[in-house]
Symmetry: C2
Subunit: 323 residues, 2 copies
């Protein structure tokens, strides 16, 4: 690896303390070189880590593109510049997703030939490898040719990140037949059917997101983000309902034992397990952590960033779209 991993100390619901703690643990546990980016006055104790000062902060609710244009000394912009200029080998942020995408796009730039970047998120599947969903939020309005490149990049990413030999790529639609869907999916289906270099298995439906029957699910960033948050919400609702039933007034000692049996499931479904999403298509490694990232999530994200740099993910993605 050519430089430290830059970590956005200001990004996420638990910034800066939880983020700084995670960055410190990443150094200690993974032996990775880490540099913080953020406002020193807010951070306070950097726990011995180097700090690159950035005087501005982009909040979670700000408009992504606009905030990046106006806040040039924000941690998101400075972190992306570090990667561009070689001061860091990758950038990890649990901050505003739209602003992270915009900063990476404007400062790192796109991989040559890539029309638009896409966020690739790993959805946990119990008893199987995860399903990669992209775009899960970079581009709300998409063109068929962008989705075609998401299929190429997603396939390359699933190979590198999860070691899937010949990733099964599905197009998210509302019926298995190529005639089912909206205009975007119909046009995209026609492109993917003729595309060499990927293992396109056709349309897939929402119920296959956690089935293990598909490795990469391609969709536009609006639909992908809605799906991601729908999954999050339903998981939380059901987990709460199950734990509620097992700790209510009718529950006895048996319930406590049952909760012990269910504990491993909670780990399997935990979004922190996979250490954040990767922004595919920009000219650098940009990891987007969940807004609620814990210190452990940051450790995992730094580990993934290191792995992706070592595996030259950017080079592989460039090759995938050059086919």
């Amino acid at each position: 690896m050519s430089g430290p991993i830059a970590v956005d100390a200001m990004g996420g619901d638990h910034a800066p303390d939880e983020i700084v703690a995670g960055a410190r643990r990443a150094v200690d546990e993974l032996g990775v070189d880490v540099v913080l980016v953020g406002r020193g006055a807010d951070i306070g104790d950097t726990l011995g880590l180097e700090l690159v000062e950035a005087s501005e902060v982009i909040s979670m609710s700000e408009d992504g593109a606009k905030s990046v244009r106006t806040k040039k000394d924000s941690s998101l912009v400075r972190g992306s510049e570090l990667v561009r200029d070689g001061g860091a080998s990758a950038f990890v942020s649990a901050g505003n997703t739209g602003a992270t995408v915009a900063a990476a796009l404007l400062r790192m730039g796109r991989i040559k030939g890539v029309a638009r970047p896409g966020v690739a998120t790993a959805i946990p599947v119990p008893g199987a490898g995860p399903t990669v969903l992209l775009d899960s939020g970079a581009m709300a309005d998409c063109q068929p040719s962008w989705l075609m490149q998401y299929a190429q990049m997603g396939s390359a990413f699933a190979k590198i990140r999860f070691g899937v030999d010949r990733p099964r790529v599905g197009l998210l639609s509302i019926g298995e037949e190529s005639s089912k869907g909206n205009q975007l999916t119909k046009d995209t289906h026609a492109l993917l059917k003729e595309l060499d270099g990927i293992n396109f298995i056709g349309n897939v439906e929402g119920r296959e997101m956690m089935s293990g029957d598909v490795d990469v699910v391609v969709t536009d960033g609006f639909t992908g983000n809605v799906v991601l948050k729908t999954l999050e919400g339903s998981l939380r609702t059901i987990v709460n309902a199950v734990f509620g039933a097992l700790s209510g007034p009718d529950a006895g000692a048996a319930a406590g034992e049952a909760l012990g049996l269910l504990a491993p499931l909670a780990v399997e479904f935990d979004p922190d397990t996979y250490g954040g999403a990767l922004l595919l298509g920009v000219n650098g490694v940009s990891i987007i952590g969940h807004g609620s990232s814990s210190a452990t999530a940051i450790v995992n994200a730094v580990g993934v960033a290191r792995d992706m740099v070592d595996a030259d993910v950017v080079g592989s993605l460039a090759a995938a779209v050059r086919v």
Copy 2:
């Protein structure tokens, strides 16, 4: 009620036997008059119910609009004609959703002033009333003005069907701010903000689908159908995982007791509970059952059909869009 409820004997994964059994039970348990529509030779014993013969069958995988144009003597087309001609007061089918929508649209016609119909599906929310999601699959490509009418019709439907006094209507998007979303949601948000007669609470995200914080979620039929199937898939995955953990080799007597505590949850999350979706905007009551509908689901659907006819849902929807 002015006539019997027509039930499509040929529609659904368990047709005709399970459907006919459900129709029979509806007569016995609810005291509702029911007539079957379908191919007598396939049905065999009608369990004493009247049969309206329809010689053709539209399968679950056929293209909706095309199959309705070519199979004029199918149960889906004949059932819709019965409602149009006054031979039935409502039509219930667990068959091909696209074809059911097309048949209702072509035969019953639209309510005056309605641009496009939408499917309203009730999503179960533990410990609260359901969330109505529409459109959940009628129109894959939508215009902002159609979504505006979905908001009006969905609000009226939530009042009639679930007794919600002042339904909270949310627009499904990828951020709470009006600036977040794709072009369709941005344009729709602007229309809904200015609309009188509904309680528009702004954008909602996928994670709010099962939160109980919103009564009616408005979206295009592509996104809605993806969300619906994503919820179905994630519920099934988690329920399987929980039951798997509680019946594995490590599970003892405690697990059996825990499963007993969890049983009521299974009922709460069962899609059959709400007796199918209603197609809003056509000039008649058309109930769309889940493809996997059991006899019990058909009983519930017939009950909902009867209630919707008695409550003059078509008149209320017509009034809602006339505002």
